[in-house]
Amino acid sequence: MRNGYALSLSLLLVVIASGIANSQSFRVQCPTSTITHPSTLTNVNAEPAYSGPTTLAINSNGFYAPTANVNGAIKCQQVSGGDGYSTMADGTQTFMFSFGPLSGLADIANGQAGTEFPNVFNTVYPGTLKPGDPAMSDGATSGASPGSPSLFTFNGAAGLMPDLDAIASGACTAPCLDGHVDPRQIMDIGVMNGNIPAPLVAFDEDDEMFLTLTNVGMLMRPDLFEQHTIHFHGYPNASSFYDGVPDASVAINIGGSFTYYYLAPDAGTYFWHCHITPPEHLQMGMVGQLYVRPRQDRVPQGTSLYTALQQQNGLGTTVDLRTACNPNNDILCSAFTPAINTGLNQGLDLLGNPQRYVYNDGDGSTAYDVEYPIQMHDFDPNFHFVGMTFNPEAFVDMRGKYFLLNGRSYPDTVATGPQATMSSDGRMHYSQPLPALINIPAGGKASLRLVNLSVEQYHTLATLGIPMKEVGFNAKLLRDQEGNNTEFYTNSITLGGGESLDVILDASDAGCGSAGCAVKLYPAGSVFYLYTPNLDHLSNDAENFGGMMTEVHICNSVTGGSTYGNTCN
């Protein structure tokens, strides 16, 4: 149903905008060419190397548009807003209000982001998607037996279909993938398909990001006609329109899709969540991870990192003030050119890939070999039960009893592959796709993108053995206004709800100096622990064992990718 007040509010808009409004309420958006990424100048389906700022000039329409050296690409993702079930480490099925994947289904099942280039997003599934996919197609039979996640390989937008009406009217030529969707497929995939954490979002600086939220409704709570939104937490200089606060912008009704548009902000670890009745929707599970990779990842091999950052910061021949950080002009930027030029050039990491970084550091101080987003959260089973059973919710008594890393408690955190849950529709769903198992090649460095999304408490996470180097806080590089790094080593970090920070788990032998260690400090085959010293959080409700803990495995080598889903050899 349409909400009466929404209708009355929107009457004027309807009158004015009816000519332009798209009549279909479920739809996706993933343009293949934009003002900022014109397909005539760049391949929008790949990340170009960063060789300097984009050249901009005022075009015939009176605004700045790129003329050369276009940076970044177009990225798209679709998520559902609805409900679902997850499995706690003591076996309890837990009801959630939740987001689920509606694009990048195979990537999500493999522990990666569901963020796709247009040429992947804009593909039509060759068959018919089945309720519960990809878990059903993969043959999942239980939480511990997720089937074979390699069977289902589709990463496009669920429901995307040729717009036959537009083709028939001559407005569009086949295949006419203009965002038109088949709502049945969206409902088949989206309903009861909640994930905790919500689908991972990851993209690159200079990208345009089209994030579509499709509200499929909550099967278990037909009494609630809940809207949902997406709040991109930490987006600098956010517009209120795309900020996802329902009071300050729009909330998406059941049966509707809304595409949030973001030009990638500065690199860093952010996160996203629904902003409707936050104490309820966040506790119930509508929280996901989101990070933006730095331009420095794209600096060509052999190029000075320092020089590349100088270019970003407006010290080169072409200047793009949007990417510039000059602390004398901007009190809220941190990626200033470092005080010391380490002379480091872009190279390869231990996996043989181009070296990657958490921030545009200009000195290599945030380099890593493998990266793992980790979401700290806690579920109050009483609140979730009440949320499923139409009972009054009490916020004062809210208290987490399941302590989660990526939606799982120990020992589920170290199980590889997606974790499946049978929902009330009788089908298996991938409810917790992200493990929290950290594989590090011997002598390597792991970037942990840490977020706490608890709605009622601070959590501490500590490491035994391998030190943490804290390099970023709240999506900003730790660096003062004169370019001095203010990073530091620690063995524990503490975060409140809605906070993020970046640490490098440093398993290198840096402590032994340039000569290296006679015996590796962290030899292959060793296992370390990442756990909460809030010791009462090392439990799974009544079980006095488990909770917020996972393992760090040191490997001879890591293959099959630099994040979850990889293999420790």
Partner: protein, 550 residues
Amino acid sequence: MREMTMKKAISKSGWLLAATALALFFVAAAYAATPGITGPTFNLTAQQAYLNQPDGAAVYSWGYGCNGAPTGFAPAAITNATCLTMQVPGPTLIVTEGQTVTVNLTNSLPAAVGNTSIVFPGFQVTATGGVTGLLAQEAAPGGSVTYSFVASSPGTRAYYSGSESDLQIEMGLYGAVVVLPTGNAAVTAACGTLTSGGLPPTNAGNNRAAQVFWKETDFRLAAAAYDHPKTCYDREYLFQWAEMDPNIHAQALAQVQARTGCTAGAPGCSLNVPTEPYKPAYFLINGRSMPDVMDPNYAAEYPHQPYNGNPHMHPGEMTLVRSIGQGRWQHPFHEHANHVRILARDGNLILTPSGNSLAGILMFNTDTTPGSAFDGIFYFTGRGLNWDPYGHHPAPDSFGDPLAYLPCTPDANGYNTGAPTAVNYFEWCQDHNKPMELNPLGDVAGGGPMTLPDPNIFTNGAWYGGNPYLGPDASLRATAPACATTSSATLTCTNLQPANMQANPANERGWAFMWHSHNEREITTNNVFPGGMLMMMLVDSREFVIDESN
């Protein structure tokens, strides 16, 4: 079930009701600044009274207040200031660096409460009179004590009871000390003075000149937060965070009433109120819960909660956030829309080794820690959205609206700061005229990357202007041209705001952002959402006059 009805009514569909109620409150604009009393001698009293909460509760509390009229109030532009004998938080004590501050505290609490006191962390305090206590010299019931200290360095700091603190702070005995810098030549060169305005070095431009042009009163206490040229600011707000467990307050009231008339120090004339287990149900900013916190300073509805939380700013204005954790819990204070640069903690400016620049970290969640204060700078410009937030036209439009077609001349930082008189002062020029929507939206040009869907699938928020844009006429142009500027009689025109239910003055065209505790359970009031530690921050278009005086 009554509770459920209540909760669901508000959280699910009741935003309309809540917003309507809010709209009534918002007949007059209500802003915040950093109001307080000036000294350097302060005559305070500690007394009991009831605090009003939005669920209708009147919570028995203790607080500091003025013992007689204070020396003065600040900022001077707020003319309706009062200081009753009890308020929560206690009066904000505004002094200037180097002053010798004298605080005479009289204990007017019920005799059964026993002694009370004030500690001033960060200052070297000497006390005269009173009786000896553990953390501070105390005032016995009916008695007094005098504290004296030199306001040795600028900044925001807490003060609170040093007597039976677990109970007395819970009951409301806390407040803030703001020490203003004396300044120096470097600060004056960079920040100007309160009368001359200035050029913030961190954002070239002249916000003060723009404020003067639009006839905006200056509500700052100083031109800089510290004796440092990188601490200039254009606007300031003080937030004190605390929570209340109503059971503790109820027990305190019951015991005080049971011991009415007892003689202080006599057997049985004392309280035994357990402060554990602790289950706070009220989460307060400046002693109030949302939506009350967004009502004006000194509002008559809250005689003992004079301070509000209702920040406003224009694009590009450097906003000083003064924040103090006053309860016993930490609260992750999330500022939507941008980061905050931490300038100082507990009055200690955080600088680079050279002392020339800032070294405090950038946070989008500024944790408030019990007993701890920070000062930080926030601003908002809309930089980097990749679409023109004002929805400007690249050419004059057919309706002859001059505001639709404005120049944007970038300064060295990319902002339109050449003319402080411009409505789009501090616009980020790189996105000037750049469309957001593929299709034209009302009068706003199309061609952008987005296609906005059928508005029927939205539910509009109470602070939403009905379209994505900012500016005095942008919302009208984006829907229907304003009648006053319509040149063709055949076109529809409107004087209505599209949403027409903004919880803001009818002439305010602002972008609203939520500033709240991100331990989201704390944005409730006694189990009801919304409430608690939640306020809306408004980024107002330049022409809107932000008047913090009411």
